[in-house]
Symmetry: C2
Subunit: 372 residues, 2 copies
């Protein structure tokens, strides 16, 4: 008899949160010319961060500090919290896994929006939780419906991205506060702030690390331009951070990433430049869409969701873009699956994307699509 898997793992479907662009390239045999599907910062990391990472290779034979003390100290200082309120991990994905493992007994419910970040769902499934999905409303997370669902299913976790992915829309800090107050008192909000650097000030809730109901999740993968480094952090109540410390992979974070993150924090001017350049690029995408008779969703992130009108048409556009060497993604559930999501790139790549989109859109538009 072969060693048997746990019941939970045996019953899981063979699935991945995302099929990477490399896998798509291997399938088709065609490399992508434009990589606009993963909201990577094509403006790159801070030159200081890049230099720090190159220099850190000198010490790669040594394990990194498992307590990530230097980086956590700097993050604590920057956010005005204590060291015990900060945890560094291998990106927000890692932190979502820890949160699900720490809070979700098998069968217990978590709430998210239908079509939101798949990796949270992956972890909930992976630990045997029940996932309750709430439809977007007018292309925004429906805070009232999310809170109602949390009460209905007695959720322990609610996932919410602000600014949101894949729409780019956002909620005000005030509305978020009201939302948290409406939730069951034993429910934790996993507030995914991956795109927070791109958000308007009034969409950034103040961090209160004494509030046991909110865990802020941040990353160096977006505005900081370090997606490949796999480093992110959580800020939240000390007991939650301490619980994660009992189950996390203590030596999980690459030492080069730690050095890069520290250097990136010390170069806020780079982030400001990226944010400004992204804002300009968003406007350009909006104009491009409008010029083709399409609308866009409002975005406070480094991507724009272009409203193609219908799911079949969006799917056809995505396929045609792929055939023309452009990697983009689309939301995986209605009503958002009428959109494609395009990462804001620097001007040259935007022009190349615009040329391809202008060339293929009439053909995509002119075809007949069966109802989905």
């Amino acid at each position: 008899m072969d060693p048997p898997f746990t019941r939970l793992v045996a019953d899981l479907p063979a699935t991945v949160p995302f099929v990477g662009p490399e896998a798509l390239e291997r399938r088709t045999g065609r490399p992508f010319q434009l990589r606009l599907g993963a909201n990577e910062s094509l403006f790159g990391p801070s030159p200081h961060a890049a230099e720090a990472m190159r220099a850190a290779v000198e010490h790669v034979a040594l394990y990194g500090d498992p307590e990530n003390a230097a980086l956590r100290s700097e993050l604590a200082r920057a956010h005005g919290v204590a060291l015990e309120n900060v945890m560094v991990a291998s990106g927000i994905d890692d932190l979502l896994g820890l949160a699900v493992r720490a809070f979700l007994e098998p069968g217990v419910a978590a709430v998210t929006s239908l079509g939101a970040y798949p990796t949270f769902n992956y972890h909930v499934d992976g630990y045997g939780g029940h996932l309750e999905r709430v439809s977007y409303r007018q292309d925004r997370n429906d805070l009232e419906a999310l809170a109602a669902a949390a009460h209905r299913v007695q959720a322990r976790l609610v996932y919410l991205a602000n600014p949101d992915n894949p729409t780019g829309t956002w909620q005000s800090a005030r509305d978020l506060r009201t939302f948290v107050d409406r939730l069951p008192s034993d429910c934790l909000v996993l507030l995914d702030e991956a795109y927070v650097d791109f958000a308007p000030p009034d969409a950034i809730p103040a961090i209160d690390a004494t509030d046991p109901r909110v865990l802020h999740l941040r990353t160096f993968s977006k505005a900081h331009g370090m997606a490949g480094a796999r480093i992110g952090y959580a800020i939240g109540p000390a007991p939650t951070i301490a619980a994660f410390d009992k189950i996390r992979l203590h030596y999980g974070v690459n030492s080069i990433a730690q050095e890069g993150a520290l250097a990136s924090l010390a170069d806020p001017a780079h982030i400001q430049r990226v944010v400004a350049a992204v804002a300009e690029g968003r406007r350009e995408y909006e104009e491009l869409a409008r010029s083709l008779g399409l609308s866009t969703l409002p975005s406070a992130a480094n991507f724009v969701a272009i409203d193609v009108g219908e799911a079949a048409q969006a799917r056809a556009l995505l396929t045609s873009l792929e055939e023309h060497g452009v990697f983009v993604r689309m939301p995986n559930a209605p009503p958002l699956d009428r959109c494609i999501r395009v990462t804001v790139a620097p001007p040259t790549q935007r022009s190349a994307f615009a040329a391809i989109l202008r060339a293929i859109w009439p053909t995509v538009l002119s075809r007949q699509y069966p109802e989905v």
Copy 2:
């Protein structure tokens, strides 16, 4: 009411597998001058790997391939197995966690040696498994007793490091085969081969990826000199690799690490040089110990366990070394805790260690120690 943790996580003690040297430095306020406690390769990575990592910073804004296809292909080729038999992860620690999660229902048993790698124990505790510890016998893993324990407690997992850590001793491939045959048929051996590059050929079992009873765990942290990069891999039966794929962190491995690992695999001459240099250093440590009237455990790894005779004396020696700026570790359980474990360093650092050891040993030896 605060959001409650799962029962399992709430009941876990606040513990870490290892306190890092950085944490010890922060406690004492004294930086270590010699870092000989974590079996890092102080001979460094391949210059080609270092160059590949520096070059990879150029693309750090992009997520790495979540399927790690390039590296897995090369590993599959090198080990004569199929792609479906290889998984890349953030070091062996990560893979041990996946194995425990995939195979160990809460309350089900795993077997290990008393004083073996603490991170395996950490994961078993973390997922609520029962840990059965078997004493070392003559400073080697007691294969008969491990197999007997596996039957007695109906273990699903057995952890075994070969060459062993923290002793450095090893088993022959033939004895390992007999051991696997003696285990319950539904029991998986997690064969930690972190130090395999340093082992004599007859201690390296052939890899048979069709054997459902053995998972080989390897790392770039030791002979490859890339501990800070956090990258390792498993080779084993396809169903086990597929099960891990359902629960692993898909974007967990740093892209710079992936490039470094690929370049390191392409430079076997570097590994040969490191292995030869380590063998020379082991002999020097053995002579050093002998000159002080101490013996050493036979080692096929990049460290030597020096037998200090008694636990209290070993503890006193470790403390005195720390006070003199030397970071070493000692096994945490009898009978091994009469030893200190010293990483083999290049000649200059070995000389510095020898000078300090010669200077402090008479004092440590002359003191009286209470029985422990």
